[in-house]
Symmetry: C2
Subunit: 377 residues, 2 copies
């Protein structure tokens, strides 16, 4: 693999030239990724990582269908949407066809904010749309056919990482926007290349039955994780749906004390096992799983097996009991385990400022956050 | 050329599915563009238009060097900047090498706002950077070496239309940003594909001497336009530098009454002559020329010839005098000319809401607007 710089030099240049608010994953031992395919990422030494975090690579990293569509359009035309072009209208038509009838007007952006007004229901589909929840194409559909939001927001997964975002609303709201003089939306958001990529993503979701896959693999993964919950006291809850799952880690099942340091320890240990996971939630104690939609049952099994091993060692170290090792704590193990726990706490301190976007990335499987009135894509 | 929809159907679908705040150029008779190369755009019938407005296609529409760089990177990896990657650091290094030494820290976004604080000098290079002003790579350099802004903002031309934007600042300001907890910047802004494209744009500017071209062709075009100013009373002033030129149209040289309706008439007539121009400024009476940087002297000559003809006919119609026709107004011409003027006013009324972004697109050749404290890319 052709590298311009050694990992050390890349890190040095990054410290010098990239704003410090742009944090790296695994701050105390960052990864350099040089290529990716489907649900796998590869570092500069060719090591393969199972990607459980990049929901933005919705149909899989570097999907050839996406690359082909982008290339074809980039060779022809990439310009703003002040000229008429088929791609923007075709993409808007296709998107609105997936939504309740009244949601027919699209605003494309490269990345955007929506400020909701009082009484307006906004469904945030940035992380949970496009089939990720499995049973439905849009997560708001979980609330039944009678529930129709006024505004639906979509983000980067719709472009598989190509910068594009969209807000879909009703004709009435669009007219109100327009007459209020709101001129927020970006003329490059619906450019022919972004729309070609977006159309390819829709085709791939359908052709590869990725929504069905999210349901099947998501169910399988949830079952595996529920078995882990029965085995490991650190697991307080398994939440989520489809391929959007959170593992809530707690120190105490009754008090539900967040196991924040333990979550940090686990994501670093999982990285050593070549599985990329992140910790999220207000207390950063929730392991969040939102992989590319081509994630398989084998991937799920592999991920859970690694997690099982790490939890077993960790719980032993902490002196808590796993179901299978209830009576195995012996005095001679205690010293080693205490040291492990100190190491764990050191890890978590180093990394305590790693994830600046924890607010937006919080799990949002309840109605309240799905309908958040202020959204950022 | 393969079209999905007829122009009429494209327009109909657009009215149905695209938010009305996303206006089209030439609203009363929009153009459908299906492909573009260098400084030329082509409609669905293969008609070629000289593009004098798309500064975003900085190195030329669909430049093969840009397409190649994007394709190569899209096949390898496109992910967020939470992993280490060479492209983001290389691009940041290359960008900061073009700037005064203290401007060394980059924040990449897909498109962004910067809110300046009191006493902070922000140079907006979104429209005028990357060699467009000809003599300098950055427009703020026109004010001499002693003038060093605190923040420089860059926009879409840096990606030749691929959505990418950047804010470069000093280490001190970056640290202040960081410690204030500002977490604005987007982890996808510096993705490997955007940075690969940005690097290709820098290479092309250098390899094809586009900055030198902007200077040469810009000077030539300015000279041609100054001759037109001497000939046509409608031209109040020629402003600008390099390939960023404004033709200020006025009804009266002393009062400097903006010739808004005339400007609208001219851009529609220029479109008929297959030249794409826009009218801008607070009164929308400034014809703005900001073509791809590969614009040639032949293009400049062609554009000015068409403008000359249109101005001649228009001024005759208005009863004003062009230098060459000072004594040629005869009574018999008057009626025909009045009718032409009525047609002109009708055109302008239909199109009076065409350009919603007139504030941001205002010519900014004076220090005040170059250093605007609130910028939008």
């Amino acid at each position: 693999m052709c590298e311009l710089y050694s990992k050390r030099d890349t890190l040095g240049l990054r410290k010098k030239h990239i704003g410090p608010s742009c944090k790296v994953f695994f701050a105390s031992d960052p990864i350099k990724i040089v290529r990716a395919q489907r649900q796998y990422m590869f570092d500069e030494n060719g090591e393969q990582y199972l990607d459980c975090i990049n929901n933005v690579a919705h149909v899989g990293h570097c999907h050839p269908g996406v690359v082909k569509a982008a290339l074809k359009q980039m060779e022809l035309l990439n310009t703003n949407s002040r000229f008429l072009h088929d791609n923007i209208v075709e993409y808007a038509k296709r998107l609105s066809a997936t939504l309740p009838e009244k949601l027919s007007v699209c605003y494309f952006t490269n990345s955007g904010y929506v400020h909701g007004a009082g009484g307006v229901f906004i469904a945030d589909e940035v992380q949970v749309g496009f089939g990720r929840v499995g049973k439905h194409f849009w997560s708001f559909q979980m609330y039944g056919e009678d529930f129709v939001p006024d505004i639906v927001t979509m983000g980067k997964p719709m472009g598989n990482g190509h910068p594009v975002a969209c807000v879909v609303t009703t004709k009435e709201i669009a007219e109100a926007f327009s007459s209020s003089g709101m001129e927020y939306f970006n003329t490059y958001g619906g450019n022919p290349v972004s729309c070609a990529v977006g159309l390819a993503v829709l085709d791939i979701i359908e052709n590869e039955d990725l929504q069905g896959n999210a349901k099947r693999v998501g169910n399988y993964l949830t079952e595996l994780l529920k078995k882990q919950k029965a085995k490991h006291t650190l697991i307080g809850d398994i939440r989520g749906i489809g391929l959007f799952i959170g593992i809530d880690l707690v120190k105490d099942h009754l008090k539900r004390t967040p196991a924040t340091a333990e979550a940090q320890h686990i994501i670093y240990k999982m990285k050593e096992k070549r599985v990329l996971l992140s910790a999220d939630g207000p207390h950063r104690n929730v392991l969040k799983i939102k992989p590319p939609m081509c994630f398989t049952e084998e991937d799920a099994k592999f991920m859970v097996d690694q997690l099982d091993r790490i939890l077993t060692v960790l719980e032993e170290a902490m002196g808590t009991k796993t179901e299978s090792v209830t009576s195995e704590n012996t005095p001679c193990k205690t010293k080693m385990l205490k040291e492990a726990h100190i190491e764990l706490l050191r890890d978590s301190t180093t990394d305590s400022k790693e994830n600046p976007s924890r607010k937006r990335n919080g799990m949002c499987t309840d109605t309240h956050s799905l309908l958040s009135k202020r959204l950022k894509t």
